[in-house]
Amino acid sequence: MERIQHHPILGKTKFHQPITYTFNGKKLSGYRGEPIAAALLAEGIRVLRRHEESGAARGFYCAIGHCMECRLVVQGQGIVRSCLTPLEPGMIITEGQQLANEITGRKLP
């Protein structure tokens, strides 16, 4: 999605240091310190996670840390809320994944 480079009311926006990182193995770009969810949105990525049980695609919902929908995996940090976690250069990010269920016997595809 489009970045707002100059906001009509809030003025010049804060994109300073361009960096690269990977999401699901794909190299992408963003700006240091912006929330991971915002960087991914700017790259057109909506699916941040698969529901642990059903595997349904999920994206960010509240963007301020309340809903937990945007959680994904950052190598070295584990599962994080991508709306609150600042992007760092070289981050290795993967979408939140569907899990196997030993009680129902469901295995992963």
Partner: protein, 410 residues
């Protein structure tokens, strides 16, 4: 539990308008203050708020910047990106559990603000469906447009204010429509109730609604009036079609929002047969309003009261912002949903009460508290944005309950 960890005079949870205002005032009284917030930058929801006010723009970010600069001058510690996951009172002080370890203080102010009430529509878990506040944060705080073209579901103060902001930020909106009728939406799905609500928003409503207002005033049958006269395509507010006779039926797409099925509804919100169509959009913002985010007050053992005018369950508190838990205070939207200006004055009032209780103010304390209380009242009376009717009356009810139970010592 041991006493390891940072100790201070006052811990404030939430670096929004209430928390920062309280921090600055408390520091002015000589208290050592630490403010914690889990968002990466301080300012709370003010960061993305702006609205037009008699010819100039009220910009929340500017006010936040001023408060943050003052906090710096006064030596307030602001720790962002830190989550509070619990709190416990041990002897005469609170242990606040955070993602960076335990913090200790004899007094804690909860200024955790509000959270959003969802407005569910079939398909609302698809990526690209977000709360309206999320659209605001993405566009105005993170400066990434939430999508190419979006639709807002739910007509209320929050929806109208953010729709205006999105429009100014250059985000394309297909319209603002009603939620589907049913047990979740209740009156929010009824055109009549929505029109009545909009009539109460004269400050936000541009001329078309005001012009209609006089015609409506002459009509005793409001529901019938909408069914007969409200334009089928809606009216335009700041170039956004406000569609009081259109409801969202479902959100559609494969792994992301591709369209919303819309339908014409009658005055009661019931779908008219054969009136459905698909509107191509790539994001949907759901607007159900706000409620006080008070989990920490609950964890700390504070009793709650249910006050619909202020957003629902909220911690019992006095007009001076004290709670029944000694040393625990509240300010801002956790005490009921109101504007940022009211939250700021509540923060200053809470700081005055804390200053008195901590013996930091000296002899003039009671007068300072009384003045701060008056200032809250004045700010409330002058507030441009009233989220619900009857706020002042509801507040008086809470303070009366406090006097009848806590002060009497029931």
């Amino acid at each position: 539990m041991t006493s390891k960890g940072e100790e201070t005079d006052l811990i404030i949870v939430g670096a929004g308008p209430a928390g920062l205002s309280a921090a600055n005032k408390a520091a002015e009284y000589g208290l050592r203050v630490t403010v914690i917030d889990e968002f990466p930058e301080p300012g709370g929801r003010m960061l993305g708020q702006f609205h037009e006010e008699s010819g100039h723009w009220w910009v929340g970010k500017q006010i936040a910047d001023e408060l943050i600069a003052e906090a710096g001058r006064r030596g307030v510690r602001i720790r962002c990106g830190v989550s509070v996951y619990g709190m416990l009172k041990v002897d005469d002080r609170f242990e606040v559990s955070t993602s960076i370890g335990a913090l200790f203080a004899p007094r804690v102010l909860l200024a955790t603000g509000a959270a959003e009430i969802p407005m569910p529509v079939q398909g609302w878990t698809l990526p690209g469906v977000m709360s309206i506040g999320a659209a605001q944060v993405m566009a105005n705080v993170n400066f990434v447009k939430p999508g190419r073209r979006g639709l807002i579901v739910g007509i209320n103060v929050l929806a109208m204010a953010i729709a205006r902001e999105l429009s100014v930020s250059g985000v394309s909106l297909a319209g603002i429509v009603l939620p589907p009728a049913g047990p979740l939406a209740g009156a929010a799905a009824k055109p009549k109730d929505n029109l009545e609500l909009l009539m109460g928003l004269s400050h936000l409503a541009p001329s078309p609604i005001l012009r209609m207002g006089s015609r409506i005033a002459r009509s005793c049958n409001l529901a019938g009036w909408i069914a007969n006269f409200f334009p089928r395509k809606g009216i335009r507010m700041w170039d956004i079609p406000l569609q009081l006779r259109t409801a969202a039926v479902s959100i559609n797409g494969n792994e992301r929002v591709e369209s919303v099925t819309l339908a014409q509804v009658d005055a009661k919100g019931e779908i008219l047969d054969g009136s459905q169509w698909e509107e191509p959009v790539d994001f949907v913002a759901l607007a159900g309003g706000l409620y006080p985010l008070a989990e920490l007050a609950s964890v700390a053992g504070c009793p709650f009261i249910y006050t619909p005018e202020l957003g629902g369950h909220l911690p019992l508190h006095s007009e001076q912002m004290r709670t029944p838990v000694e040393g625990l205070y509240v300010a801002g939207n956790i005490t009921g949903v109101e504007s940022a200006l009211v939250a700021m004055s509540q923060g200053r009032l809470a700081a005055a009460s804390i200053g008195v209780d901590a013996d930091a103010i000296g002899s003039g304390g009671d007068r300072i508290v009384a003045e701060a209380m008056e200032e809250v009242g004045r700010t409330r009376a002058a507030a441009l944005i009233q989220f619900q009717p009857g706020i002042a009356e509801a507040r008086r009810g809470i303070y009366r309950l406090w006097q009848e139970t806590i002060e009497v010592g029931v």
